[in-house]
């Protein structure tokens, strides 16, 4: 018997029991739907995080004291501006090294007060990080050298304090000290939950005095190209450890961050898909069950087909194809609904959802495999029926 013939017969059988077919498919549909949507959300989350990291700027190495890793205790920084000058000499290009001192402080303008992250940095920051200006200017070398009380506001801070008014040239009070606004950044969103639009940048020297600190929180080094990152990272860490032999330093690159976060989110996506896969499996059990019912119901038909010359493999093929059709049609419907659902979720909720072709291929493949796996037992039972017994059954 040809496959086309078996296919036609199976379709006919599915069409005849339309309600039962739909209900049986529902299990597979829900399973595939869940897989597609959850994988889309997992992938979307991963993409979003990767975009955030890439949005920081390119080829950045973040230098922090101590060992970075799971379970590592954050170390008190012992780096200061002299170390930054030392690193600039090590790197050879002063514009490729910048610095950060952070503290949360209230910022006030008139009666309005907001809480912002005050970051002390220098004139090289814009050359390393991606931080486009909306108005005014960046911090300058003179600002840093002369410890000027000037500030560049994050977009969110500027909006809250000034509304539609241009803040450039106006005064704000940071922790009670008056600063002149020289620039406003573009809206950039947040990275790792850090709302970068709620930052206020001031010269690092000014920040140290304001906070009462002579240390710095971190150093960022910019590499000139992706190939430069690794050697530069090694040089920076080696230089720092040579300067402070008893201490450890870590330099984290974007690639590392991407790799680590990608792995974690990939695992998370996998776990979600596996959980959804369980419902697909349950759907498969439903298919198996209904196929057994079908074999019992159609025992007489099977007997007749055998009397007319159907071989065991013809009957087996017919029922197996029926089961696989059941799951693949269900799978296709599930994929369509899943893609639609993922697009809808992406459109109306803040949850990012990205559809990947592999999740669709996988969902379809798995539903076909489920059909074969759960269809084999009923199909074999049908194929092995004794024609005499089958013909006599009522």
């Amino acid at each position: 018997m040809r496959t086309a013939e078996a296919l036609r017969m199976a379709l006919e059988a599915l069409r005849v029991n339309r309600l039962r077919t739909m209900l049986t498919m529902l299990g597979v549909i829900i399973g595939v739907l869940a897989v597609v949507i959850l994988v889309a959300i997992g992938t979307g989350a991963k993409n979003a995080v990767e975009k955030e990291i890439a949005g920081l700027g390119s080829n950045i190495i973040l230098v922090v004291p101590g060992q970075v890793g799971l379970g590592a205790v954050p170390t008190q920084s012992r780096l200061d501006l002299a170390d930054v000058a030392y690193l600039r000499r090590v790197v050879g290009d002063p514009s490729k090294v910048t610095v950060a001192v952070n503290s949360g402080e209230p910022v006030r303008m008139g009666r309005i007060e907001v809480f912002a992250t005050i970051t002390g940095t220098d004139e090289y920051m814009p050359g390393i990080f991606e931080r486009p200006l909306h108005r005014g200017r960046y911090l300058s070398g003179t600002d840093v050298d002369t410890r000027r009380r000037v500030a560049v506001l994050g977009a969110e801070v500027a909006r809250k304090l000034f509304g539609d008014v241009d803040p450039v040239g106006r005064q704000v009070a940071i922790a009670g000290v008056r600063f002149r606004v020289v620039g406003v950044y573009e809206t950039v969103g947040s990275t790792f939950g850090v709302a970068r639009d709620q930052e206020v940048h001031v010269p690092v020297t000014t920040a140290q005095r304001l906070i009462g600190l002579d240390r710095i929180n971190g150093v960022a080094v910019g590499a000139s190209g992706p190939d430069e990152i690794e050697p530069l990272r090694g040089r920076v860490v080696a230089a720092l450890e040579a300067r402070y032999p008893d201490e450890k330093f870590s330099a984290v690159t974007q690639t590392q961050l991407l790799g680590t976060i990608g792995t974690v989110l990939g695992m998370l996506t996998g776990v979600l898909a596996a959980i959804a896969g369980i419902s697909l499996l349950v759907g498969g059990v439903g298919v198996s069950n209904i196929m057994l019912v079908g074999v019992r119901e159609r025992t007489k038909e099977i007997g007749l087909r055998k009397a007319l010359g159907a071989r065991q493999r013809d009957i087996l093929g017919q029922f197996l194809i029926e089961a696989v059709l059941l799951t693949t049609i269900g799978g296709t419907i599930g994929i369509v609904l899943g893609v639609g659902g993922a697009l809808l979720i992406g459109a109306v909720t803040p949850v990012p959802a990205a559809i990947t072709w592999w999740s669709i291929v996988l969902a379809f493949g798995v539903s076909a495999v489920v059909g074969v796996f759960f269809g084999v037992a009923p199909a074999r039972r049908a194929g092995r029926l004794d024609p005499v017994v089958a013909l006599r059954s009522e």
Partner: protein, 267 residues
């Protein structure tokens, strides 16, 4: 193929036994040693009360079942040498079944019902449909091709079943109580059809019945009782034929002898 050799008999059974094991180690012997021979083109009725083993015999002849012991040759082929697949192919090629309750696929048109045996022979769809149409026309249902069984009378349904049995050009039609579910007029129609197919088409017809009227229309009756052949009208005929052929042979020899004496011509 040597033209001189006559075609093998349609069925040749030697000491056929079929017993069923029951729970508790008890065995029931449905057939206890049946020996018979049915030639190509015969019209035979297997008659017997219910429980006599005639259905079992029918299932064995139809290759739906295998004997517990004994030899069964269908068209000269010993069925014990065939595996299940070959047996299915033999059924498909050599035997056409007609059942008491028609056994048509309910949601399938007459045409597709009739074409079904050809599906398992791998005949392409257009040819299948053409042959099914011809078979339906041969049983006088050329106007019912697209009808479903539920849209036809019992007599028409049985004729569809006969067309299905015929479509593969079998050597034998096996009919199990073909008129059992029909009124006398439709039964008559079906019997007439079977007779016509036998005479015109040369298909051997073996029907199982306990209706004496139906059995009387067969040229040969085999009575089965308690798993044994009780009476076979052919046996009596064979005896007569044997006697006759012996007589003829003797005559021929005499003729030959005389002819040889006359002019040396062996004829």
């Amino acid at each position: 193929m040597t033209a001189a050799r006559p075609a093998p008999p349609a069925f040749e059974a030697v000491d056929l036994v079929r017993s069923y094991p029951l729970d508790g180690g008890v065995r029931v012997d449905a057939l206890r040693g049946v020996t018979l021979c049915i030639d190509q083109g015969e019209f035979v009725a297997i008659v017997g009360p219910s429980g006599s083993g005639k259905s079992t015999l029918m299932h064995l002849l139809g290759c739906l079942d295998r004997p517990t012991s004994g030899v069964l040759r269908v068209g000269g082929v010993d069925v014990s040498t065939l595996d299940d697949t070959r047996l299915a192919e033999l059924r498909n090629r050599a035997i056409g079944f007609v059942f008491q309750s028609f056994h048509l696929l309910a949601r399938t048109s007459a045409l597709d019902n009739v074409a079904l045996p050809l599906v398992y022979r791998g005949v392409p769809r257009p040819e299948r449909r053409a042959r099914a149409r011809a078979a339906l026309e041969a049983v006088g249902l050329g106007h019912r091709l697209g009808h479903r069984p539920s849209q036809m009378s019992g007599g028409e349904q049985q004729r569809v079943a006969i067309a299905r049995a015929l479509v593969g050009d079998p050597e034998v039609l096996l009919a199990d109580e073909p008129t059992g579910n029909l009124d006398s007029r439709n039964g008559e129609e079906v019997m007439g059809l079977l007779e016509r197919l036998n005479v015109d088409g040369g298909v051997a017809v073996v029907l199982v019945t306990h209706d004496q009227g139906v059995a009387a229309r067969a040229r040969r009756q085999i009575h089965v009782r308690d798993g044994l052949v009780e009476f076979d009208t052919a046996a009596a005929r064979t005896a007569r034929r044997n006697m006759r052929s012996e007589w003829n042979e003797r005559n021929e020899q005499n003729e030959r002898h005389r002819g040889n004496q006359r002019d040396g011509d062996p004829r």
